[in-house]
């Protein structure tokens, strides 16, 4: 597995602790590691080379900030330079020249265009827009049908003029349809094609000239290798790409090809696909992808998500209950539900630094089914049992197990874990209002926010 870059650098610099300046030899060995990490993340060979030269220039002879170790310092330089490379243009769509706002999606086969189309529609709908979807993919078997199904799942209208087999006509009729029916955006999905296929590139140009897109987005797989530059470059040359949608970032791909595309082709990243659900499309933010590229986790995204789903009043209520030693199975269930609202557990864990390696430990990967079982068990309890777990005796345990389709041992385990959790929470919450526990939590959060370096 890939070792995270920051960890590697820590290793190199462990022996150099306390040095006030970055010596040339220390920087050189760090740069070797950085080069390796970037190449393993599929950053283009030449981009890597140029980048390393820049970092070298900035790093050698610099004073090390007092708050950082030399390793952290180099990572910070790398991080800053990477972010600078991506530029600070915000992700998302451009301002439309007219209504409807037309978005054209292009790319190679299997990059995830059709899924991206439905997700982009959802993204726009969440912002109060009314997008209309249309597929012009008359080549791949069942592609039009796939978009239809996704549209239904996403609650987005899909325009499908039956029997119309001309991609250009499908697209321009969709624009007319949107004008008639009052949709303020049209997302045009296209057939996947190779950038060397000149006939299909011609077709794409014809579609573009018919619909005059405000955004022409190149959909790229985060797992793409070194060829990304060439294909993105060709699409850009033929179509005039305005941005990139980077898909399948929910795996463990580093997405280094994206960096190359930005650096070489000069097209910004507009969106990233981060999960399997239709809402898992986010406007691009450079600092997050850079953290990921360097294997530093994506704590910011996690905090943002948590802020979405955690109800502040509810959190305050829980805290009061904790202090009053009044944490019940009902509260436990509520917490569990909040946690699950963050997304699939694996996805949540993947955003934490260092969690990448958790997967290597046998049996350590989270099992959604276990959580389902816990929910079922608590749901099978009477309100009285949920409020005071102590009354749950042997016969009640048997009933709960039957009711939830689990075994008595599972119920025992749940109760044992719950008791342990109570004990732990009591210890944390014992500091009183604003006490040690809360302070510690705040410190931890600040640490994650401020200096995720080397975390």
């Amino acid at each position: 597995m890939f070792e995270s870059l920051s960890e590697r650098l820590q290793g190199i610099f462990r022996t150099l602790r306390g040095e006030a300046r970055l010596s040339e030899s220390a920087v050189e060995s760090a740069l070797r590691e950085i080069r390796m990490a970037l190449l393993e993340a599929d950053v283009n060979f030449r981009v890597t080379k140029a980048f390393i030269d820049r970092v070298r220039e900035r790093a050698v002879g610099q004073d090390v900030l007092r708050s950082l170790t030399p390793g952290q310092h180099v990572v910070r330089i790398v991080r800053d330079e990477l972010i600078a490379l991506f530029g600070d243009a915000p992700g998302g769509l451009r301002a439309a020249k007219s209504t409807p706002h037309v978005v054209l999606l292009v790319g190679l086969q299997g990059a995830g265009k059709t899924t991206a189309a439905a997700r982009l529609a959802r993204w726009m709908a969440r912002r109060g827009r009314h997008p209309l979807l249309v597929s012009t993919d008359v080549r791949r078997p069942a592609a039009i049908e796939q978009l239809g199904v996704l549209g239904r799942q996403a609650g987005i209208r899909v325009f499908d003029p039956a029997g119309e087999a001309d991609p250009v006509a499908r697209a321009s009729r969709a624009i007319a349809e949107a004008r008639t029916l009052g949709f303020d955006a049209v997302i045009v999905d296209t057939a996947g094609r190779l950038h060397v296929d000149s006939a299909l590139m011609g077709e794409l140009q014809a579609i573009r000239d018919a619909v005059h897109p405000d955004d022409a987005l190149y959909v790229a797989d985060a797992m793409t290798g070194q060829d990304a530059i060439r294909s993105a470059g060709e699409f850009n040359r033929h179509i005039g790409v305005t941005g990139v949608i980077l898909t399948k970032l929910d795996g463990d791909a580093r997405g280094g090809a994206a960096l190359s595309v930005v650096a070489v082709v000069g097209v910004p990243i507009a969106f990233v696909g981060v999960g399997e659900r239709l809402d898992d499309l986010e406007a691009f933010q450079a600092d997050r992808l850079v953290s990921r590229l360097l294997g530093m986790g994506d704590v910011l995204s996690l905090i943002e998500r948590a802020e979405h789903v955690v109800d502040r009043d509810e959190a305050a209520r829980l805290e009061r209950k904790l202090r009053a030693d009044d944490f019940t199975l009902e509260d436990f269930l509520a917490q569990l539900k909040t946690l699950r609202k963050l997304g699939p557990l694996e996805q949540v864990l993947a955003m934490l630094p260092g969690m990448g390696r958790l997967k290597d430990l046998a049996g350590a990967s989270p099992d959604e089914r276990q959580l389902n079982a816990v929910e079922a068990m608590i749901n099978s309890m009477t309100p009285g049992e949920r409020r005071s777990y102590r009354i749950i005796d042997g016969s009640r345990r048997r009933r709960i197990a039957r009711g939830s389709g689990t075994a008595v041992e599972d119920v025992n385990r749940l109760l044992r874990q719950f008791m342990q959790m109570r004990k732990m929470l009591k210890a944390v919450g014992a500091g009183g209002p604003g006490g040690g526990g809360r302070r510690r939590m705040r410190q931890a959060a600040a640490m994650l926010r401020g200096r995720g370096l080397g975390a």
């Binding site: 190449l39 030449r46 990304a228 399948k248």
Partner: protein, 316 residues
């Protein structure tokens, strides 16, 4: 030209760029005044860039360069050394023919969007062309319209298909397909599975379950588990291959979409690091565009150019 003619044709389109550079490198290295000198740092560097640029990965590229540099001897052209080295990597991967069963069961797995469904249909067509009576099993019950896609392909390939409803348990579809295969003597049964990211533990377990069902229904099944990789994929494919080997017992690689663009160098890295052989390559969009892999022809295709005449075409 043989079967691999089409691969060569596909590779040629963009290989030209690569080869042009390789010509340059080897011309420099093989120039008469330097023949007796070892490969210099500049040449080694350029060679490394070339190999990494073909997605071969830092490790495999580094070792290839080291091996070539170490072995460079007077009079031996650099190009031959590199070819020999790459060939030995590919041939080092285990190459025993997969066992057959009654019916033979072939599982096709991979992450989303690599070309599994298309490869399944092409593979069925290939078997039918060789006189077998294949059955395809549409066990991708997750992706919208995946079953419909395979149905259309199966019609083109003129092979039988067993399908499940969207959202149904893929293992039950596999069960049905194996029963049908046994009852009617259709073999091989080629199972299309839903694309899944290798980081999703529960989805990977679903593959293990499909595998168990196959093992239970047909002795020795699945006889072959093919991991489909997009030829443009980068270094993440190594992680993918490891995870799919662990969960589904992958026995070989299908390198899809090799036409036109990428070199599929990742296949070399996988052969090198994991010993997984490449079984088939997809070289076009037609139903007949999947061909068995041949290492010598692949390496030849990778390096075939106008050098045969002794000089690059541009100098003739």
């Amino acid at each position: 030209m043989g079967l691999f003619g089409s691969v060569r044709e596909g590779l040629r389109r963009t290989a030209r760029q690569l080869l042009g550079r390789f010509d340059e490198i080897s011309r420099r290295a093989d120039a008469p005044e330097r023949r007796s000198a070892p490969v210099d740092a500049e040449t080694a560097d350029a060679l490394e860039e070339l190999l990494i640029g073909a997605d071969m990965g830092v490790a495999a590229a580094g070792r290839t360069v080291a091996a070539v540099t170490g072995r460079a001897r007077r009079g031996e052209p650099l190009r031959d050394l590199v070819k020999a080295e790459l060939l030995s990597i590919l041939q080092g991967a285990s190459r025993t023919a997969p066992p057959v069963g009654d019916p033979t069961v072939i599982m096709v797995v991979g992450v989303n969007g690599t070309g599994k469904t298309t490869s399944v249909a092409k593979l069925a067509y290939l078997h039918r062309a060789q006189g077998a009576r294949p059955l395809v099993c549409a066990a991708d019950t997750f992706r919208a319209a995946a079953v419909e896609q395979l149905e259309i392909w199966a019609r083109r390939a003129e092979v039988e298909i067993i399908r499940g409803r969207e959202g149904s348990d893929p293992a039950s579809v596999v069960f049905d397909a194996l029963a049908a295969g046994k009852a009617r003597g259709w073999s091989p049964v080629i199972v299309d599975t839903a694309g899944r990211l290798h980081t999703r533990a529960n989805l990977m377990q679903e593959l293990a379950k499909i595998r168990r069902i196959a093992e239970r229904e047909v002795p020795g099944a699945p006889h072959e588990v093919l991991l489909v990789l997009d030829a443009t994929v980068g270094q993440n494919a190594l992680v993918q291959a490891r995870e799919f080997m662990a969960a589904a017992g992958v026995t070989g690689i299908v390198l899809a979409k090799l036409d036109g663009t990428a070199k599929g160098g990742i296949a070399l890295a996988i052969a090198h690091d994991l010993g997984l052989p490449i079984r088939y390559v997809g070289v076009g969009e037609g139903i007949g565009d999947l061909v068995p892999f041949s290492a010598p022809e692949y390496v030849d295709a990778l390096f075939e150019n106008s050098w045969e005449g002794g000089r690059p075409a541009s100098q003739r």
